[in-house]
Amino acid sequence: MSEATPTEPPSVGPTIGLSSFGKPVATRAEAVELFKVMTTGGEKPEEIFHSTHGDGLTFMSDVPESCLGGADVVLGIDEAGRGSVLGPMTYSAAYWPVSMQEEMEQKPFDDSKALTHEKRRKYFELIQDTPDCGYVVRVLHASEISRNMLRKVPYNLNDMSHDSAMEMIRNVQRQGVKLTKCIIDTVGIPENYKRKLDKAFEGQGIEFIVEKKADANYKCVSAASICAKVARDEITPSWVFPEEGFVPVNGKEWNSGYPSDPMCKVWMESNLIDKVFCYPDVIRFSWGPIKDRIEERGVPVVWEDEDEDNQQSSMSDFLGGSDGGKRKRQRLGGNKVQKGIERTELF
């Protein structure tokens, strides 16, 4: 726990982000099936509803025919669950041919925040049933987020978001899709984000639009926001705790999972059960409210070899005293203090 081997941030290599579920599936039916695993648990729920040691999963739909063969394609990106204190942050991309834009404008997709849970599910099915629309979902589990943010050199949430977005874009490109426009709901300062993207995809003919509220203003970003939100909404309540024997008080009654949510507060208060590890790893340990609670209610942790300091000698070894200078650690307690300054004893 002290020095977990830091995982490298997602690099630009060719296979990044394609974990077991990350391979593009052959047919739309298969993609729907895969997502069903996510929504029902399926045969091996632990592969999705568990924390992972490596990176989270990437789901990809099959690539629509109309997006291949050199057609210009527009792609939108949005995320869900960013501020939550628990569960994954989900990032999603939705894309279709530029030539279909007019038709897509007729779809009822909207900012997922403006939709009810039922509407979102319905529209998600509509996305799945739209043959010209492809999508990608990247799941960043709480454990991945904690691990990244708590590294010696922190890998922060904004950078994770940016890298996930780029990783999704590359995954789509790798399937032979010619992206000409990417619209992204911003994380951080739009200008900086755009500059980062322009640089990363320089010379590839992609126009980047990075804006606030893009999820409400552009159909493909709305579609992405629906995919992201549905994914998070499916994963969080179906979570399978990997901690053996951990039975949460209040089940999974954490509601939105946002730290200001009264139900989530109750959950955080009543589920700090283990005094050492404090919470199960559905929790984002890098969040302030969690750190505070751990500090307050967990047992204090002393890292004996902190600062790799096994070369540091102890002052006690040099002091004379009631029981010689050989103690490794001199503890308080014992003889009453003598008055004044005395330098009597030798080494």
Binding site: D309, Q311, S313, S316, Q330, V337, E342, T344, F347
Partner: protein, 261 residues
């Protein structure tokens, strides 16, 4: 009954500033000779020893020896309420649970008093060995502070090597390396306070955690000079003399090369 008055109250303020990041709880030991504080930091790597002689106070009375256990953060908070120009009086009954601190402004137009609840700290006496040091460096305290601050940019560990060339402070870190060589001041055109005086019987080289040296430099405001004493394989002493009244001394255990063990 214990009572001590210091016209220059800022000394006490600065002392607490110099202590509170290193030492959590400690005793002020009061005797006829004066006040002393000795304490180690929580990881027992360093030791801090304060001595204020009774003759350095404007008024000093101590009928019998007492120990006043305090939490340094809390005492620091109270002393923050005193102005730098205030006169400070410390008072305690022989079996008191409180330490009274009285702050009087220069022209006596404001008098405040505070009571700090004392703690029972049953501390071992720290038998600090009396060592003949092989080398002693006296240098301006702000110069030392600057070196430590600068070197901290590069790494965690600092080697202090005294040779006939001078004193070399070196650091190696991920960023690169750094060396600061300080030489003895030649000639007489410098004030004594600004001079660097190196007294070397034999060369000494020791390695220390910069984090602690940095804590020590919190005492820089207590005086213009710092005296660093070193001998092979024993803790360094970093002493800040406090004019006309005493000193604060920090002892820091060296880092030991594995090969030597």
């Amino acid at each position: 009954m214990f009572e001590a008055r210091l016209t220059n109250g800022s000394i006490l303020k600065k002392l607490l500033e110099a202590l509170k990041d290193l030492v959590t709880d400690a005793n002020i030991d009061c005797s006829e000779e004066g006040l002393s504080i000795q304490a180690m930091d929580s990881s027992h790597v360093s030791l801090c020893a304060v001595a204020l002689r009774s003759d350095g106070f404007d008024h000093f009375r101590c009928d019998r020896n007492i120990s006043l256990g305090f939490n340094s953060q809390n005492l620091g908070k109270i002393l923050k309420c005193a102005d730098n120009t205030d006169m400070i009086t410390l008072k305690a009954e022989d079996s008191a649970d409180n330490l009274t601190l009285m702050f009087e402004s220069k022209n006596q137009d404001r008098i405040s008093d505070f009571e700090l609840k004392l703690m029972d700290i049953d501390a071992d006496h720290l038998g600090i060995p009396d060592t003949e040091y092989k080398t002693t460096i006296r240098m301006p305290s702000n110069e030392f502070k600057r070196i430590i601050t600068d070197l901290q940019v590069l790494g965690d560990t600092c080697t202090i090597a005294v040779t006939k060339e001078g004193v070399r402070f070196s650091v190696t870190g991920d960023l690169g390396t750094g060396n600061v060589l300080v030489r003895s001041t030649n000639g007489v055109d410098k004030e004594e306070e600004e001079a660097v005086v190196i007294d070397m019987e034999e060369p000494v080289e020791l390695t220390f955690a910069l984090r602690y040296l940095n804590f020590f430099t919190k005492a820089t405001n207590l005086g213009p000079s710092v005296v660093i004493s070193m001998s092979p394989d024993v803790p360094v002493v970093v002493e800040y003399p406090i004019e006309q009244i005493g000193h604060i001394k920090y002892y820091l255990a060296p880092k030991i090369d594995d090969a030597d063990e």
